[in-house]
Amino acid sequence: MSIDKQDVQKIAHLARLALTEADAEQYQQSLSSVLSLVEQMQSVNTDGIEPLSNPLEMTQRLRDDVVTEENRRDDFLANAPQTEAGLFLVPKVID
C-alpha cells in the first residue's frame, strides 16, 4: 500500500497539520511503510467476529446530570495563549 504526495497533503489537511513540500515527501515514505505494515490484516478472515473496542467490554457508566465542578474560569484561562475579558481569543473568524 503506498500513497502519493497529494494524498499526504490531503491527510495533513484533515489532521490540521501544515506540511512543507519536503515534509510531505518524507511523510509519503514513512506513511506508506506503516500502511504496508498494517496491510497484512487484510489477509485475515474476520467474518462473524465482533469488533472489540473496550478490552473489558464495559458499557458506558452514566451519572446524574448535576453540577459537580466549581467555576474555575480564571485558572483555565491562565494557560491560554491569548484571552480577553474572560474569553479565549482567536483570529477573526467572520469578516
Binding site: 500513497i3 499526504v8 491527510i11 495533513a12 489537511h13 484533515l14 489532521a15 490540521r16 497539520l17 501544515a18 506540511l19 515534509d23 511523510y27 514513512s30 506513511l31 511503510s33 506503516v34 500502511l35 505494515l37 498494517v38 496491510e39 497484512q40 490484516m41 487484510q42 485475515v44 474476520t46 467476529i49 465482533e50 469488533p51 472489540l52 473496542s53 473496550n54 478490552p55 473489558l56 464495559m58 458506558q60 457508566r61 451519572r63 474555575r72 485558572d75 483555565f76 491562565a78 494557560n79 491560554a80 495563549p81 491569548q82 479565549f88 482567536v90 483570529p91 477573526k92 473568524v93
Partner: protein, 486 residues
Amino acid sequence: MFDQSISTLAAQLRNKDISSVELTRYFLDRIAKLDPQLNSYITLSEDVALKQAAHADTQIQHGDASLLTGIPIAHKDLFCTAGTLTTCGSKMLNNFIPPYESTVTGRLQNAGAVMLGKTNMDEFAMGSSNENSYYGAVKNPWNLDTVPGGSSGGSAAAVAAGLAIAATGTDTGGSIRQPASFCGITGLKPTYGRVSRFGMIAYASSLDQAGPMAKSAEDCAHIMQAMAGFDDKDSTSSETPNDDYLSNLNAPLTGLKIGLPKEYFGDGLDAGVADVIMAAVKEFEKLGAEVKEISLPNLNLSIPSYYVIAPSEASSNLSRFDGVRFGHRCEDPKDLLDMYMRSRAEGFGQEVQKRIMVGTYALSEGYYDAYYLKAQKIRRLIKQDFTNALQEVDVIMGPVAPTTAFGLGSKTNDPVAMYLEDIYTLSVNLAGIPAMSIPAGFSNNMPVGLQIMGNYFAEAKLLNVAHQYQQNTDWHRQTPDMAKGA
C-alpha cells in the same frame, strides 16, 4: 541509601534515623550530580518536594504516616500535576501548568509520597526508545551509548540509577515493561481500567494504563496499593474491588502453572535473551512451578492491529491541541485555519505527526471498515488467544523485548524496525490484561527482563510470582556503575 527498599526506608523514617527532608535532599543532590549524564528528568520540583517532605516529617512525628509517607518518587511527565509544568515530552506543552491534579499523582501525594520531579519520555508516549522527546534523548544508566527504552524511559533510567525510589509510568503498547527490561528494574502494567486515567494526557484511550516502576515487586505492590482503584472521574475505570497487593506476596508457588507461548521464542529472539529467560523459567520450576508450552497464534497480528488502533485514537485525542485553550500557538496566524495548521505542525514532533496522520487516514471516509473496524476484530482474536491460554495456565512467561537495549540512533531511520521491537508487549494492551517485567539476568552486560502476564485483575498474583522469584535471586539488586559515582 538510594538502593534501599520502601519498607526499609519507611522504618528508618519512623525510627527517626533520617528525616524525609534529609532523604529528599539526598536524592535532589544525586540528581544534580548524576542526571546530566542521563537526562532522565524534564523538570525538578525541588520546592514542592521539600515542602511535601517537611509535611511528611510532621505526619511521621504525629504517628500519622502510611508506608509511603516521606518516600521520594518521580512522575512521568504526562501526569497532570497542579502547579508543576507538565510537558508530555512535547514542545506543544512546554508552557503548560495544569490547573488540576491527576488521580494517580493525587493519590500518591495523599499517601505521603514526595514528588522529586517529572521524568522524560517519548513525546506523547509515542516511541520505544525515548529518542522522540523534545527535551532530548535519555541515556541508559547501564551503558550511556544505549537507549533506556520507551516511552517511560526517564522513569526507568531514574529508578535504575537511584535518582528516585520509584516512579510512575504509563503503558499503551509496552511503555512500562520495555524500559523496565532495558534498565533492569521492575515494572507493572495493570489491567485496563484498574488505575484511573483521569489527568493522564491521553494517547490511545482504549489501551492506556498507568503503573508503578520500582526496584522490586514488593515496592511496586506498595505503590499499587496507593494508586489503584475505582475513580468516578474516569469513565472506563473498573468498579471491580481492589485486591490487597501486599498480603499475598509470600504465598508459595508450588503447583503454579506457567505457560510459555511458542510464538515468543521463535525467529527474531536474540539468543542471549532467550538463555536468560529459560534460566529464569528453570528457577520457577525449582520453586515448584509446572511449565507447559502454549500457543498465542495471532501474536503477529498484534503489530498491525495496534498500529491502526493506537494512531486512530491518538488522532482523535490529540485534536484538542489547537492553539486555543492551552499549548503552543504559532506567531501571527492569518486566520483560524492557519493558526490550527501551523501551531500543530510547530508543536508536534515528527513521530507524533506521523501517527496522527496514520490515524486520520484509517478513520477517514471509505477506509474506516478496512482499517479501524478490521483492527478491532483482530483485537478480539488476540484477546481470545489469551483467555483460552489462561484457562490452562495461571501465568504466561516470555521475553519483554527481542533484544537488550539497542544503541542510541541505531533505529531512528527505520521506524518500522522500531515498531517490530514491540512484538511481545503490544498484545497485552490489546487484550487489556496485566503484565510485569522483572530483571532476570544479563546478556552482554545489559539487563534482560522477564515478562509475566496474567488474567484480568490478577495483579496480586503477578506481584506474588515476581516477589517469590526476587526472594530467591538477586538480579533486581544489581546497580549500574554510574549510580555508584555519587
